[in-house]
Symmetry: C2
C-alpha cells in the first residue's frame, strides 16, 4: 500500500476496491466458479505452478486464467499453450491487480466463453509480496508462494501476505540443499503470522508437493459446491 498522506483517501481506495471485489465474487458465485488469487514476489514460480496445474487438471476441470502483468503477455502466452481461456491484464505502472481490473477480465471472459461451464478461475497477480495482499479481487481463497531462495525471515518482514493467505506454497524446495535455509524456522515464522494457513512444500521440478496442491484445489471447489447445495436446500 502506498502512503498517500491522507488516511481517509486510503480507506476510500480500499473501500471502493472491496465493493468491486464483492461484485466480482457475486459473478463467480452465480456461475459456480471457484476463484483462487495466486500471489508472490517476482520469480517465486507462480506461472510454472499454473503450467503444472493446467497440465494435470485440464481434463478433469474446466479452468480459465486471469493473468496480471505490468507489461507483456509473456506469461499469458505460456499458459495459452494448455488450451485454456487466458485473459491478459496489463496493469501498466500499477503494482497489483485491483477488483476493477479483474472485473474487466471477468466481463471479457464472459463475452468470449460461457462462464457457467467454467469451474475454476486462477487469478495470477503481479509479482509483489506487499500490495496484492491488501486488494481483494473477488477470490474465494488466497494462495501465496514463497520460494526457499527468499529466506526464512520473510513472513516476519512482509506479514500481511502471510496473514491473508489460505494456502502457502513453499516453492523451489529442490534448491534447498544449496542454500543456508532453515525450513523448520521458516515454517515456524509462517505459523507465527498465521496459525491456520495450509503449508505445502513444493517443487515444480521434482514434483514434490504437487499432488497435495491439486488436492487442496479440489477441496476448494468441493467446499463451494457444498455451500451452494446448503443454500439451495
Amino acid at each position: 500500500m502506498h502512503q498517500t498522506f491522507d488516511a481517509a483517501l486510503e480507506i476510500n481506495l480500499l473501500h471502493a476496491n472491496q465493493a468491486g471485489a464483492d461484485h466480482n465474487r457475486a459473478h463467480f458465485d452465480e456461475w459456480g466458479i471457484t476463484c483462487l488469487n495466486v500471489m508472490s514476489s517476482p520469480g517465486a514460480g507462480k506461472t510454472v505452478l499454473l503450467e503444472r496445474t493446467l497440465a494435470a487438471l485440464n481434463q478433469e476441470l474446466k479452468i480459465a486464467v486471469i493473468e496480471g502483468d505490468m507489461t507483456t503477455e509473456l506469461d499469458a502466452e505460456r499458459l495459452r499453450q494448455y488450451g485454456v481461456p487466458v485473459i491478459a491484464i496489463n496493469t501498466g505502472r500499477s503494482c497489483h491487480l485491483d477488483s476493477q481490473m479483474v472485473s474487466g477480465g471477468i466481463h471479457t471472459l464472459a463475452q468470449e466463453y460461457n462462464p457457467s461451464e467454467l469451474e475454476l478461475v486462477f487469478v495470477e497477480n503481479v509479482g509483489n509480496l506487499v500490495c496484492p495482499a491488501e486488494f481483494e479481487v473477488g477470490e474465494h481463497a488466497k494462495v501465496a508462494l514463497l520460494s526457499v531462495t527468499e529466506g526464512e525471515d520473510k513472513p516476519l518482514k512482509y506479514p500481511v501476505m502471510f496473514q491473508e493467505a489460505d494456502c502457502l506454497l513453499i516453492t523451489k524446495t529442490d534448491l534447498a540443499p544449496y542454500l543456508d535455509i532453515d525450513l523448520h524456522r521458516l515454517e515456524s515464522n509462517v505459523r507465527q503470522m498465521n496459525p491456520h494457513v495450509r503449508i505445502i512444500p513444493l517443487s515444480a521440478k521434482t514434483g514434490e508437493g504437487l499432488e497435495q496442491w491439486f488436492d487442496w484445489v479440489r477441496t476448494q471447489i468441493q467446499s463451494l459446491q457444498i455451500e451452494e447445495l446448503a443454500i439451495q436446500a
Copy 2:
C-alpha cells in the same frame, strides 16, 4: 505505484515526493555524502550485499545505513554488528520508502552523529521490484539487484526498475548451475530496457563480482567529489 482512480492525485503524490527528495539530496550534498538507494524483490540479497560491503569498506570509508522494512529491525540488527550507524525505518503498510520517511532518517542520523564525517549512506529499500523505483529519496544513484533465481524475463515484465537503475547486480550466481536460466538472455533483456546500466554478476557466497561492486561504489564517491571541486573552482 497504486492506481488511485485519480491521475492528478498520482502526479501530486510523485511531485510532493520529488520535492522531499530534492531536500534530502541538498542535505547529502551539503555534508559531502554519496547516497545509494539499494532496491530489489524480497530475498534477492540486499542485506547480505551490505554485510559484505561493510565488512570490506568499513575501514576505508565512513558509512551509514538507512534501513527500510515494513516491520521488524531484523536487517538493521544484522548491519549494526559492523559498527556503523544504522537508522531503521518501519514503513508499516507502505511498500516502499518515500522521501519523507528518508528525511526522518536523515535528521535522526544528523542528531546522533556528525554527518559531515560520513562519506557514504546506503538506503536499503523495502523488498519490492515495482514501487521503490518510482519514489526518489534523494539518492545520487540507484542500485538494483536481481537474483538468478527470479528468471531472465523479469526486466521485460518489471521495466521501470531496470530503466531507472544505474547499477544492476545479478546476484546468487553460485545457484545458476542448478537453474534453467540463460544468463546471456537475461543480460540482453536488461540492455533492452537500459543500454547504459552497469551490470555486475555477483555471488555473496563465492565472492564473485564483489571487487567490481566495491570499485563501482568508490567511483560513485569520486565522481561526486570531482563534481564538488568543479563547483568550488
